[in-house]
Protein backbone atom coordinates (compact mmCIF):
# COMPACT_ATOMS: atom_id res chain seq x y z
CA UNK A 1 0.00 0.00 0.00
CA UNK A 2 2.78 2.36 0.93
CA UNK A 3 4.69 1.49 -2.23
CA UNK A 4 1.58 2.11 -4.28
CA UNK A 5 1.08 5.52 -2.72
CA UNK A 6 4.67 6.51 -3.27
CA UNK A 7 4.49 5.33 -6.88
CA UNK A 8 1.45 7.54 -7.40
CA UNK A 9 3.26 10.47 -5.84
CA UNK A 10 6.60 9.96 -7.46
CA UNK A 11 6.72 7.35 -10.17
CA UNK A 12 4.97 5.55 -12.96
CA UNK A 13 1.78 5.43 -10.87
CA UNK A 14 1.42 9.20 -11.31
CA UNK A 15 1.11 8.85 -15.08
CA UNK A 16 -1.26 5.92 -14.76
CA UNK A 17 -3.58 7.85 -12.44
CA UNK A 18 -3.55 10.90 -14.70
CA UNK A 19 -4.53 8.82 -17.72
CA UNK A 20 -6.84 6.29 -16.08
CA UNK A 21 -9.52 8.73 -14.95
CA UNK A 22 -10.03 10.58 -18.24
CA UNK A 23 -9.88 7.40 -20.31
CA UNK A 24 -12.28 5.70 -17.92
CA UNK A 25 -14.62 8.64 -18.19
CA UNK A 26 -14.41 8.64 -21.97
CA UNK A 27 -15.02 4.90 -22.05
CA UNK A 28 -18.12 5.26 -19.87
CA UNK A 29 -19.57 8.28 -21.65
CA UNK A 30 -18.48 7.74 -25.26
CA UNK A 31 -17.36 4.12 -25.64
CA UNK A 32 -20.29 2.48 -23.87
CA UNK A 33 -22.92 4.60 -25.65
CA UNK A 34 -21.28 3.59 -28.90
CA UNK A 35 -21.65 -0.09 -28.07
CA UNK A 36 -25.12 0.48 -26.69
CA UNK A 37 -26.05 2.12 -29.98
CA UNK A 38 -25.05 -1.00 -31.89
CA UNK A 39 -27.00 -3.15 -29.43
CA UNK A 40 -30.14 -1.01 -29.78
CA UNK A 41 -30.00 -1.20 -33.55
CA UNK A 42 -30.58 -4.96 -33.24
CA UNK A 43 -33.40 -4.60 -30.73
CA UNK A 44 -37.02 -3.59 -30.77
CA UNK A 45 -37.19 -0.39 -28.72
CA UNK A 46 -40.38 1.41 -27.86
CA UNK A 47 -41.63 3.66 -25.09
CA UNK A 48 -42.47 0.67 -22.88
CA UNK A 49 -39.17 -1.14 -23.18
CA UNK A 50 -37.14 2.02 -22.73
CA UNK A 51 -36.36 1.21 -19.10
CA UNK A 52 -34.93 -2.27 -19.62
CA UNK A 53 -31.84 -3.60 -21.32
CA UNK A 54 -33.42 -6.94 -22.22
CA UNK A 55 -35.51 -5.97 -25.19
CA UNK A 56 -36.67 -8.37 -27.88
CA UNK A 57 -33.83 -9.13 -30.28
CA UNK A 58 -34.90 -8.62 -33.87
CA UNK A 59 -31.70 -9.26 -35.80
CA UNK A 60 -31.30 -7.18 -38.91
CA UNK A 61 -34.96 -6.18 -39.05
CA UNK A 62 -34.26 -2.54 -38.22
CA UNK A 63 -31.76 -2.32 -41.03
CA UNK A 64 -34.10 -4.01 -43.50
CA UNK A 65 -36.95 -1.71 -42.48
CA UNK A 66 -34.72 1.30 -42.85
CA UNK A 67 -33.79 0.53 -46.43
CA UNK A 68 -37.37 -0.39 -47.28
CA UNK A 69 -38.49 3.14 -46.41
CA UNK A 70 -39.07 5.41 -49.40
CA UNK A 71 -37.34 8.43 -47.79
CA UNK A 72 -34.09 6.64 -46.99
CA UNK A 73 -32.51 6.91 -50.42
CA UNK A 74 -33.36 10.62 -50.97
CA UNK A 75 -31.98 11.47 -47.54
CA UNK A 76 -28.75 9.61 -48.24
CA UNK A 77 -28.48 11.48 -51.54
CA UNK A 78 -29.13 14.76 -49.71
CA UNK A 79 -26.37 13.92 -47.28
CA UNK A 80 -23.97 13.28 -50.13
CA UNK A 81 -24.92 16.58 -51.81
CA UNK A 82 -24.66 18.44 -48.52
CA UNK A 83 -21.25 17.01 -47.74
CA UNK A 84 -19.73 17.51 -51.20
CA UNK A 85 -21.27 20.94 -51.69
CA UNK A 86 -20.20 22.19 -48.28
CA UNK A 87 -16.68 20.81 -48.46
CA UNK A 88 -16.11 22.04 -52.00
CA UNK A 89 -17.38 25.52 -51.16
CA UNK A 90 -15.53 25.82 -47.87
CA UNK A 91 -12.32 24.48 -49.30
CA UNK A 92 -12.22 26.55 -52.49
CA UNK A 93 -13.19 29.81 -50.76
CA UNK A 94 -10.89 29.03 -47.86
CA UNK A 95 -7.98 28.22 -50.16
CA UNK A 96 -8.54 31.40 -52.16
CA UNK A 97 -8.56 33.51 -49.03
CA UNK A 98 -5.53 31.70 -47.60
CA UNK A 99 -3.57 32.34 -50.80
CA UNK A 100 -4.57 36.00 -50.70
CA UNK A 101 -3.53 36.47 -47.08
CA UNK A 102 -0.31 34.56 -47.73
CA UNK A 103 1.01 37.71 -49.37
CA UNK A 104 2.23 39.34 -46.22
CA UNK A 105 1.06 42.87 -45.61
CA UNK A 106 0.64 44.79 -42.35
CA UNK A 107 -2.56 43.75 -40.59
CA UNK A 108 -2.88 40.53 -42.60
CA UNK A 109 -2.84 38.11 -39.68
CA UNK A 110 -5.20 40.24 -37.62
CA UNK A 111 -7.75 40.53 -40.42
CA UNK A 112 -7.40 36.86 -41.21
CA UNK A 113 -8.14 35.96 -37.61
CA UNK A 114 -11.26 38.13 -37.71
CA UNK A 115 -12.81 35.78 -40.27
CA UNK A 116 -12.90 33.11 -37.60
CA UNK A 117 -15.83 34.76 -35.78
CA UNK A 118 -18.12 32.72 -38.04
CA UNK A 119 -16.66 29.62 -36.45
CA UNK A 120 -16.86 30.62 -32.79
CA UNK A 121 -20.49 31.72 -32.97
CA UNK A 122 -23.10 29.25 -31.69
CA UNK A 123 -24.49 27.26 -34.63
CA UNK A 124 -28.03 28.18 -33.66
CA UNK A 125 -27.24 31.89 -33.97
CA UNK A 126 -25.59 31.40 -37.37
CA UNK A 127 -28.70 29.48 -38.41
CA UNK A 128 -31.02 32.21 -37.14
CA UNK A 129 -29.14 34.92 -39.04
CA UNK A 130 -29.12 32.95 -42.29
CA UNK A 131 -32.76 32.04 -41.81
CA UNK A 132 -33.54 35.75 -41.86
CA UNK A 133 -31.15 36.55 -44.71
CA UNK A 134 -32.66 33.75 -46.80
CA UNK A 135 -36.25 34.75 -46.07
CA UNK A 136 -38.35 34.67 -49.26
CA UNK A 137 -40.18 37.98 -49.34
CA UNK A 138 -38.04 40.19 -47.16
CA UNK A 139 -34.68 38.46 -47.21
CA UNK A 140 -31.69 40.57 -48.04
CA UNK A 141 -30.12 37.86 -50.21
CA UNK A 142 -33.08 37.89 -52.59
CA UNK A 143 -32.86 41.68 -52.68
CA UNK A 144 -29.17 41.64 -53.60
CA UNK A 145 -29.68 38.95 -56.24
CA UNK A 146 -32.64 40.85 -57.70
CA UNK A 147 -30.79 44.14 -57.83
CA UNK A 148 -27.77 42.58 -59.49
CA UNK A 149 -30.03 40.96 -62.06
CA UNK A 150 -29.23 37.34 -61.21
CA UNK A 151 -32.86 36.48 -60.52
CA UNK A 152 -36.10 38.16 -61.55
CA UNK A 153 -38.48 36.71 -58.93
CA UNK A 154 -37.92 35.89 -55.30
CA UNK A 155 -36.52 32.48 -54.46
CA UNK A 156 -38.16 30.89 -51.45
CA UNK A 157 -34.97 29.38 -50.16
CA UNK A 158 -36.38 27.72 -47.09
CA UNK A 159 -39.76 26.52 -48.33
CA UNK A 160 -39.01 25.56 -51.95
CA UNK A 161 -37.96 21.89 -52.01
CA UNK A 162 -35.60 22.65 -54.91
CA UNK A 163 -33.61 25.16 -52.89
CA UNK A 164 -33.98 24.24 -49.21
CA UNK A 165 -30.92 21.98 -49.11
CA UNK A 166 -28.82 24.62 -50.84
CA UNK A 167 -29.95 27.20 -48.30
CA UNK A 168 -28.37 25.11 -45.54
CA UNK A 169 -25.29 24.41 -47.67
CA UNK A 170 -24.80 28.14 -48.17
CA UNK A 171 -24.95 28.80 -44.43
CA UNK A 172 -22.61 25.90 -43.78
CA UNK A 173 -20.08 27.14 -46.32
CA UNK A 174 -20.10 30.51 -44.60
CA UNK A 175 -19.61 28.82 -41.24
CA UNK A 176 -16.69 26.64 -42.30
CA UNK A 177 -14.74 28.78 -44.78
CA UNK A 178 -12.81 30.64 -42.11
CA UNK A 179 -11.69 27.46 -40.38
CA UNK A 180 -10.47 26.01 -43.68
CA UNK A 181 -8.64 29.23 -44.45
CA UNK A 182 -6.82 29.31 -41.11
CA UNK A 183 -5.64 25.72 -41.38
CA UNK A 184 -4.62 26.16 -45.02
CA UNK A 185 -2.69 29.28 -44.05
CA UNK A 186 -0.72 27.23 -41.55
CA UNK A 187 0.08 24.74 -44.28
CA UNK A 188 1.11 27.47 -46.72
CA UNK A 189 3.46 29.11 -44.24
CA UNK A 190 5.22 25.76 -43.83
CA UNK A 191 6.39 25.67 -47.47
CA UNK A 192 10.06 26.72 -47.67
CA UNK A 193 10.38 29.95 -49.65
CA UNK A 194 13.61 28.97 -51.42
CA UNK A 195 11.59 26.52 -53.51
CA UNK A 196 9.77 29.46 -55.03
CA UNK A 197 12.95 31.45 -55.51
CA UNK A 198 14.53 28.54 -57.36
CA UNK A 199 11.44 28.09 -59.53
CA UNK A 200 11.37 31.77 -60.33
CA UNK A 201 15.00 31.64 -61.43
CA UNK A 202 14.09 28.74 -63.68
CA UNK A 203 11.44 30.94 -65.27
CA UNK A 204 8.28 29.33 -63.86
CA UNK A 205 5.31 31.70 -63.82
CA UNK A 206 2.90 32.08 -60.91
CA UNK A 207 0.46 29.55 -62.36
CA UNK A 208 3.17 26.91 -62.85
CA UNK A 209 4.58 27.58 -59.40
CA UNK A 210 1.13 27.02 -57.90
CA UNK A 211 0.63 23.69 -59.68
CA UNK A 212 4.14 22.32 -59.27
CA UNK A 213 5.11 23.60 -55.84
CA UNK A 214 2.16 24.83 -53.77
CA UNK A 215 -0.28 22.01 -54.47
CA UNK A 216 2.18 19.09 -54.13
CA UNK A 217 3.70 20.59 -50.96
CA UNK A 218 0.23 21.05 -49.49
CA UNK A 219 -0.90 17.52 -50.23
CA UNK A 220 -0.99 16.20 -46.68
CA UNK A 221 -2.52 19.42 -45.32
CA UNK A 222 -5.22 19.32 -47.98
CA UNK A 223 -5.94 15.67 -47.22
CA UNK A 224 -6.28 16.42 -43.52
CA UNK A 225 -8.50 19.44 -44.15
CA UNK A 226 -10.85 17.59 -46.48
CA UNK A 227 -11.15 14.73 -44.00
CA UNK A 228 -11.71 17.24 -41.20
CA UNK A 229 -14.29 19.01 -43.36
CA UNK A 230 -16.09 15.71 -43.88
CA UNK A 231 -16.10 15.11 -40.13
CA UNK A 232 -17.40 18.61 -39.34
CA UNK A 233 -20.06 18.58 -42.08
CA UNK A 234 -21.40 15.27 -40.82
CA UNK A 235 -21.61 16.83 -37.35
CA UNK A 236 -23.61 19.79 -38.60
CA UNK A 237 -26.96 19.74 -36.89
CA UNK A 238 -27.70 23.22 -35.56
CA UNK A 239 -28.10 24.80 -38.99
CA UNK A 240 -30.75 22.28 -39.98
CA UNK A 241 -32.59 22.85 -36.72
CA UNK A 242 -32.45 26.62 -37.19
CA UNK A 243 -33.11 26.99 -40.93
CA UNK A 244 -35.30 24.28 -42.43
CA UNK A 245 -35.84 21.57 -39.78
CA UNK A 246 -35.14 19.12 -42.58
CA UNK A 247 -38.20 20.21 -44.51
CA UNK A 248 -40.19 20.84 -46.54
CA UNK A 249 -41.09 17.17 -46.88
CA UNK A 250 -37.54 15.94 -46.09
CA UNK A 251 -36.14 17.83 -49.09
CA UNK A 252 -33.34 19.25 -46.93
CA UNK A 253 -33.06 16.36 -44.50
CA UNK A 254 -29.72 14.66 -43.95
CA UNK A 255 -28.89 11.54 -41.98
CA UNK A 256 -27.52 13.21 -38.87
CA UNK A 257 -30.70 15.28 -38.50
CA UNK A 258 -32.93 12.42 -39.52
CA UNK A 259 -31.46 10.11 -36.85
CA UNK A 260 -32.25 12.68 -34.19
CA UNK A 261 -35.75 13.23 -35.61
CA UNK A 262 -36.48 9.49 -35.48
CA UNK A 263 -35.43 9.29 -31.84
CA UNK A 264 -36.75 12.54 -30.45
CA UNK A 265 -39.67 13.42 -32.71
CA UNK A 266 -41.03 9.96 -33.59
CA UNK A 267 -39.68 8.30 -30.41
CA UNK A 268 -38.44 5.44 -32.59
CA UNK A 269 -35.15 4.99 -30.78
CA UNK A 270 -34.30 1.76 -32.56
CA UNK A 271 -34.45 3.47 -35.94
CA UNK A 272 -32.48 6.45 -34.64
CA UNK A 273 -29.84 4.04 -33.38
CA UNK A 274 -29.78 2.14 -36.67
CA UNK A 275 -29.16 5.28 -38.73
CA UNK A 276 -26.56 6.39 -36.19
CA UNK A 277 -24.63 3.12 -36.45
CA UNK A 278 -24.45 3.39 -40.24
CA UNK A 279 -23.30 7.00 -40.10
CA UNK A 280 -20.81 6.46 -37.30
CA UNK A 281 -19.12 3.70 -39.30
CA UNK A 282 -18.83 6.15 -42.17
CA UNK A 283 -17.46 8.95 -39.96
CA UNK A 284 -14.92 6.58 -38.47
CA UNK A 285 -13.60 5.70 -41.91
CA UNK A 286 -13.21 9.42 -42.59
CA UNK A 287 -11.39 9.91 -39.31
CA UNK A 288 -8.94 7.14 -40.12
CA UNK A 289 -8.07 9.10 -43.25
CA UNK A 290 -7.66 12.21 -41.10
CA UNK A 291 -5.46 10.48 -38.56
CA UNK A 292 -3.34 8.99 -41.34
CA UNK A 293 -2.77 12.35 -42.99
CA UNK A 294 -1.68 13.92 -39.69
CA UNK A 295 0.30 10.86 -38.67
CA UNK A 296 3.67 12.47 -38.98
CA UNK A 297 2.52 14.78 -36.20
CA UNK A 298 1.28 11.94 -34.04
CA UNK A 299 4.51 10.04 -34.38
CA UNK A 300 6.54 13.16 -33.87
Amino acid sequence: MKRLLSSIRDGRGFDVVLVAFPLGFLFLMAGLPLLYNVLMSFQEVDMFSLGTFLRPFVGLKNYRDLFAQPETLPILVNTAIFVTGSIAGQFLLGFGLALFFWVNFPGASWLRGLFLVSWVMPGLVVGAIWNWILSGDFGVLNFILRESGVISGNIFWRSDPNYSLYAVIMANIWLGTAFNMILLSVGLSGIPTDLYEAAELDGANAWQRFWTITLPMMRSTIGAIIALGLIFTLQQFDLFAAITSGGPNNSSNVTQYWAWEQSFRQYDFAKGATISVLMIIFVMIASVVYVRSTRHEVRG
Binding site: V117, I129, W132, W260, A273
Partner: protein, 275 residues
Protein backbone atom coordinates in the same frame (compact mmCIF):
# COMPACT_ATOMS: atom_id res chain seq x y z
CA UNK B 1 4.29 50.27 -57.54
CA UNK B 2 6.09 50.92 -54.30
CA UNK B 3 5.91 48.50 -51.42
CA UNK B 4 3.83 50.71 -49.15
CA UNK B 5 1.31 51.39 -51.90
CA UNK B 6 1.03 47.67 -52.52
CA UNK B 7 0.58 47.00 -48.80
CA UNK B 8 -2.15 49.60 -48.59
CA UNK B 9 -3.93 48.22 -51.63
CA UNK B 10 -3.77 44.68 -50.23
CA UNK B 11 -5.06 45.91 -46.90
CA UNK B 12 -8.02 47.65 -48.52
CA UNK B 13 -8.91 44.58 -50.59
CA UNK B 14 -8.63 42.41 -47.47
CA UNK B 15 -10.84 44.83 -45.59
CA UNK B 16 -13.49 44.67 -48.31
CA UNK B 17 -13.39 40.88 -48.32
CA UNK B 18 -13.73 40.80 -44.54
CA UNK B 19 -16.66 43.20 -44.78
CA UNK B 20 -18.42 40.97 -47.31
CA UNK B 21 -17.70 37.90 -45.25
CA UNK B 22 -18.92 39.45 -42.03
CA UNK B 23 -22.03 40.96 -43.62
CA UNK B 24 -24.37 38.41 -41.95
CA UNK B 25 -23.08 39.58 -38.60
CA UNK B 26 -23.70 43.22 -39.55
CA UNK B 27 -27.18 42.29 -40.72
CA UNK B 28 -27.93 40.75 -37.33
CA UNK B 29 -26.91 43.91 -35.48
CA UNK B 30 -28.78 46.18 -37.86
CA UNK B 31 -31.98 44.16 -37.96
CA UNK B 32 -32.10 44.16 -34.17
CA UNK B 33 -32.26 47.96 -34.22
CA UNK B 34 -35.00 48.24 -36.83
CA UNK B 35 -38.63 48.82 -36.05
CA UNK B 36 -41.26 46.23 -36.92
CA UNK B 37 -42.27 48.03 -40.11
CA UNK B 38 -38.81 49.06 -41.26
CA UNK B 39 -37.71 45.47 -41.04
CA UNK B 40 -40.11 44.48 -43.84
CA UNK B 41 -39.40 47.51 -46.03
CA UNK B 42 -38.64 46.93 -49.72
CA UNK B 43 -35.97 47.83 -50.65
CA UNK B 44 -34.41 46.99 -47.27
CA UNK B 45 -32.59 49.78 -45.46
CA UNK B 46 -28.94 49.19 -44.69
CA UNK B 47 -28.94 51.60 -41.77
CA UNK B 48 -31.85 51.86 -39.31
CA UNK B 49 -33.70 55.18 -39.66
CA UNK B 50 -34.67 55.32 -35.99
CA UNK B 51 -32.63 52.82 -33.92
CA UNK B 52 -34.93 50.95 -31.56
CA UNK B 53 -32.72 50.41 -28.54
CA UNK B 54 -35.69 49.41 -26.42
CA UNK B 55 -35.97 46.12 -28.34
CA UNK B 56 -33.13 44.72 -26.24
CA UNK B 57 -34.83 45.42 -22.93
CA UNK B 58 -38.13 44.12 -24.30
CA UNK B 59 -36.61 40.84 -25.55
CA UNK B 60 -34.57 40.36 -22.38
CA UNK B 61 -37.73 40.71 -20.27
CA UNK B 62 -40.28 38.92 -22.42
CA UNK B 63 -38.11 35.91 -23.30
CA UNK B 64 -36.62 35.58 -19.82
CA UNK B 65 -33.12 35.74 -21.27
CA UNK B 66 -31.46 36.16 -17.90
CA UNK B 67 -32.46 32.65 -16.94
CA UNK B 68 -31.47 31.15 -20.32
CA UNK B 69 -28.03 32.77 -20.26
CA UNK B 70 -27.55 31.73 -16.65
CA UNK B 71 -28.25 28.12 -17.61
CA UNK B 72 -25.85 28.38 -20.56
CA UNK B 73 -23.24 29.75 -18.19
CA UNK B 74 -23.73 26.93 -15.69
CA UNK B 75 -23.57 24.27 -18.38
CA UNK B 76 -20.53 25.78 -20.11
CA UNK B 77 -18.64 26.35 -16.84
CA UNK B 78 -19.45 22.89 -15.56
CA UNK B 79 -18.26 21.30 -18.79
CA UNK B 80 -15.06 23.35 -18.82
CA UNK B 81 -14.21 22.49 -15.21
CA UNK B 82 -14.85 18.80 -15.75
CA UNK B 83 -12.89 18.75 -19.01
CA UNK B 84 -9.96 20.68 -17.58
CA UNK B 85 -9.67 18.57 -14.43
CA UNK B 86 -9.74 15.32 -16.39
CA UNK B 87 -8.10 16.43 -19.62
CA UNK B 88 -4.96 18.25 -18.49
CA UNK B 89 -3.34 15.21 -16.88
CA UNK B 90 -4.21 13.04 -19.83
CA UNK B 91 -2.71 15.54 -22.28
CA UNK B 92 0.43 15.78 -20.15
CA UNK B 93 1.07 12.04 -20.15
CA UNK B 94 0.33 11.77 -23.87
CA UNK B 95 2.81 14.57 -24.54
CA UNK B 96 5.54 13.25 -22.25
CA UNK B 97 6.02 9.77 -23.65
CA UNK B 98 6.44 8.33 -27.10
CA UNK B 99 5.56 4.69 -27.35
CA UNK B 100 2.98 2.35 -28.79
CA UNK B 101 0.60 2.87 -25.87
CA UNK B 102 0.58 6.62 -26.36
CA UNK B 103 -0.07 6.13 -30.06
CA UNK B 104 -3.03 3.87 -29.29
CA UNK B 105 -4.39 6.34 -26.73
CA UNK B 106 -4.08 9.22 -29.16
CA UNK B 107 -5.74 7.24 -31.90
CA UNK B 108 -8.69 6.39 -29.65
CA UNK B 109 -9.01 10.00 -28.59
CA UNK B 110 -8.97 11.26 -32.16
CA UNK B 111 -11.63 8.72 -33.06
CA UNK B 112 -13.86 9.85 -30.20
CA UNK B 113 -13.44 13.44 -31.31
CA UNK B 114 -15.29 12.77 -34.55
CA UNK B 115 -18.49 11.17 -33.28
CA UNK B 116 -21.38 13.49 -34.22
CA UNK B 117 -23.38 14.62 -31.20
CA UNK B 118 -26.70 14.21 -32.98
CA UNK B 119 -25.90 10.53 -33.55
CA UNK B 120 -24.54 9.86 -30.06
CA UNK B 121 -27.51 11.45 -28.32
CA UNK B 122 -29.80 8.46 -28.94
CA UNK B 123 -27.81 5.93 -26.84
CA UNK B 124 -26.80 8.61 -24.32
CA UNK B 125 -30.41 9.65 -23.79
CA UNK B 126 -31.69 6.10 -23.44
CA UNK B 127 -28.81 5.15 -21.16
CA UNK B 128 -29.22 8.23 -18.99
CA UNK B 129 -32.94 7.66 -18.67
CA UNK B 130 -32.25 4.10 -17.49
CA UNK B 131 -29.83 5.10 -14.76
CA UNK B 132 -32.00 8.03 -13.68
CA UNK B 133 -29.62 10.76 -14.82
CA UNK B 134 -32.47 12.66 -16.49
CA UNK B 135 -33.53 13.75 -12.99
CA UNK B 136 -30.54 16.11 -13.13
CA UNK B 137 -30.80 17.34 -16.71
CA UNK B 138 -28.17 20.09 -16.54
CA UNK B 139 -25.62 17.74 -14.98
CA UNK B 140 -26.46 15.15 -17.63
CA UNK B 141 -25.80 17.72 -20.36
CA UNK B 142 -22.53 18.78 -18.71
CA UNK B 143 -21.31 15.18 -18.66
CA UNK B 144 -22.39 14.58 -22.25
CA UNK B 145 -20.64 17.75 -23.45
CA UNK B 146 -17.52 16.85 -21.48
CA UNK B 147 -17.35 13.45 -23.16
CA UNK B 148 -17.84 15.09 -26.54
CA UNK B 149 -15.34 17.93 -26.19
CA UNK B 150 -12.61 16.43 -24.03
CA UNK B 151 -10.78 14.74 -26.93
CA UNK B 152 -10.45 18.11 -28.70
CA UNK B 153 -9.18 19.71 -25.49
CA UNK B 154 -6.65 16.92 -24.95
CA UNK B 155 -5.32 17.31 -28.49
CA UNK B 156 -4.93 21.08 -28.06
CA UNK B 157 -3.36 20.95 -24.59
CA UNK B 158 -1.05 18.11 -25.60
CA UNK B 159 0.43 20.43 -28.21
CA UNK B 160 1.06 22.96 -25.42
CA UNK B 161 2.82 20.42 -23.21
CA UNK B 162 4.99 19.33 -26.12
CA UNK B 163 6.34 22.87 -26.20
CA UNK B 164 7.43 22.71 -22.54
CA UNK B 165 11.10 21.59 -22.44
CA UNK B 166 11.50 18.23 -20.73
CA UNK B 167 14.83 19.40 -19.27
CA UNK B 168 13.05 21.79 -16.92
CA UNK B 169 11.03 19.00 -15.45
CA UNK B 170 14.06 16.75 -15.19
CA UNK B 171 16.00 19.50 -13.43
CA UNK B 172 13.18 19.82 -10.91
CA UNK B 173 13.27 16.08 -10.30
CA UNK B 174 17.01 16.16 -9.78
CA UNK B 175 16.54 18.97 -7.29
CA UNK B 176 14.44 16.62 -5.17
CA UNK B 177 10.94 17.40 -6.34
CA UNK B 178 8.52 14.51 -6.52
CA UNK B 179 6.69 13.88 -9.80
CA UNK B 180 3.59 15.50 -8.30
CA UNK B 181 5.62 18.51 -7.15
CA UNK B 182 7.37 18.93 -10.51
CA UNK B 183 4.07 18.69 -12.33
CA UNK B 184 2.28 21.29 -10.24
CA UNK B 185 5.20 23.66 -9.65
CA UNK B 186 7.05 23.56 -12.97
CA UNK B 187 5.13 22.01 -15.87
CA UNK B 188 1.65 23.30 -15.14
CA UNK B 189 2.63 26.97 -14.70
CA UNK B 190 4.60 26.84 -17.96
CA UNK B 191 1.64 25.42 -19.86
CA UNK B 192 -0.86 27.74 -18.18
CA UNK B 193 -1.53 29.98 -21.18
CA UNK B 194 -2.16 27.15 -23.58
CA UNK B 195 -4.49 25.46 -21.14
CA UNK B 196 -6.36 28.72 -20.61
CA UNK B 197 -6.83 29.34 -24.33
CA UNK B 198 -8.04 25.77 -24.89
CA UNK B 199 -10.43 26.11 -21.96
CA UNK B 200 -11.81 29.33 -23.46
CA UNK B 201 -12.34 27.60 -26.81
CA UNK B 202 -14.17 24.76 -25.08
CA UNK B 203 -16.21 27.29 -23.12
CA UNK B 204 -17.29 29.09 -26.27
CA UNK B 205 -18.32 25.79 -27.84
CA UNK B 206 -20.23 24.64 -24.77
CA UNK B 207 -21.91 28.04 -24.43
CA UNK B 208 -23.55 27.51 -27.82
CA UNK B 209 -24.20 23.78 -27.49
CA UNK B 210 -27.61 22.73 -28.76
CA UNK B 211 -28.22 19.04 -29.53
CA UNK B 212 -27.70 17.61 -26.04
CA UNK B 213 -29.52 20.44 -24.27
CA UNK B 214 -32.46 20.28 -26.65
CA UNK B 215 -32.83 16.53 -26.26
CA UNK B 216 -32.13 16.10 -22.56
CA UNK B 217 -33.53 19.22 -20.86
CA UNK B 218 -37.32 19.25 -20.99
CA UNK B 219 -38.02 21.86 -18.29
CA UNK B 220 -38.02 25.37 -19.77
CA UNK B 221 -36.51 26.95 -16.65
CA UNK B 222 -33.39 24.76 -16.99
CA UNK B 223 -32.80 25.25 -20.72
CA UNK B 224 -29.81 27.19 -22.09
CA UNK B 225 -29.98 30.14 -24.47
CA UNK B 226 -29.51 28.03 -27.62
CA UNK B 227 -32.68 26.07 -26.91
CA UNK B 228 -34.43 29.32 -26.01
CA UNK B 229 -33.47 30.79 -29.38
CA UNK B 230 -34.74 27.68 -31.11
CA UNK B 231 -38.14 27.87 -29.46
CA UNK B 232 -38.27 31.60 -30.25
CA UNK B 233 -38.03 30.82 -33.97
CA UNK B 234 -41.35 29.22 -34.82
CA UNK B 235 -41.95 28.06 -38.39
CA UNK B 236 -43.85 31.21 -39.43
CA UNK B 237 -42.26 33.81 -37.23
CA UNK B 238 -42.21 37.45 -38.23
CA UNK B 239 -40.52 38.97 -35.20
CA UNK B 240 -37.11 38.98 -36.83
CA UNK B 241 -35.99 42.17 -35.12
CA UNK B 242 -36.68 40.56 -31.74
CA UNK B 243 -34.97 37.33 -32.72
CA UNK B 244 -31.92 39.22 -33.95
CA UNK B 245 -31.88 41.19 -30.69
CA UNK B 246 -31.90 37.89 -28.81
CA UNK B 247 -29.07 36.62 -31.02
CA UNK B 248 -27.13 39.84 -30.45
CA UNK B 249 -27.35 39.59 -26.67
CA UNK B 250 -26.37 35.94 -26.89
CA UNK B 251 -23.30 36.18 -29.15
CA UNK B 252 -21.84 39.59 -28.32
CA UNK B 253 -20.05 38.38 -25.16
CA UNK B 254 -18.57 35.44 -27.12
CA UNK B 255 -17.47 37.72 -29.95
CA UNK B 256 -15.94 40.16 -27.47
CA UNK B 257 -13.87 37.40 -25.85
CA UNK B 258 -12.82 36.18 -29.26
CA UNK B 259 -11.75 39.57 -30.62
CA UNK B 260 -9.80 40.32 -27.42
CA UNK B 261 -7.96 37.00 -27.42
CA UNK B 262 -7.96 36.49 -31.17
CA UNK B 263 -4.26 35.99 -31.69
CA UNK B 264 -3.89 33.44 -28.92
CA UNK B 265 -7.02 31.55 -29.85
CA UNK B 266 -6.02 31.26 -33.49
CA UNK B 267 -2.53 30.05 -32.70
CA UNK B 268 -3.82 27.62 -30.08
CA UNK B 269 -6.32 26.23 -32.52
CA UNK B 270 -3.89 25.73 -35.36
CA UNK B 271 -1.25 24.04 -33.21
CA UNK B 272 -3.64 21.28 -32.25
CA UNK B 273 -5.56 20.45 -35.38
CA UNK B 274 -2.72 20.23 -37.89
CA UNK B 275 0.97 20.47 -37.61
Amino acid sequence: MSDTARDRLMFVIALIMAAIYLFPLYWMYITALKSGSEMFATPPTFWPSVPQWSTYAYVWESRGMGRYLWNSLIIASGAVVLITVLGVGCAYVLARYRNAWVDIGLFLILMLQVLPASLMITPIFVGFSQIGMLEYPRLAVIIAIAAKSMPFFVVLVRATFMAVPMELEEAALVDGNSRVGAFFNIVLPLARNGILVSAILIFMQAFGEFVYSKSIIQAVELQPASVGLNSFMGPNTNEWNNIMAYATIYVTPILAIFVLLQRRIVSGLTSGAIK
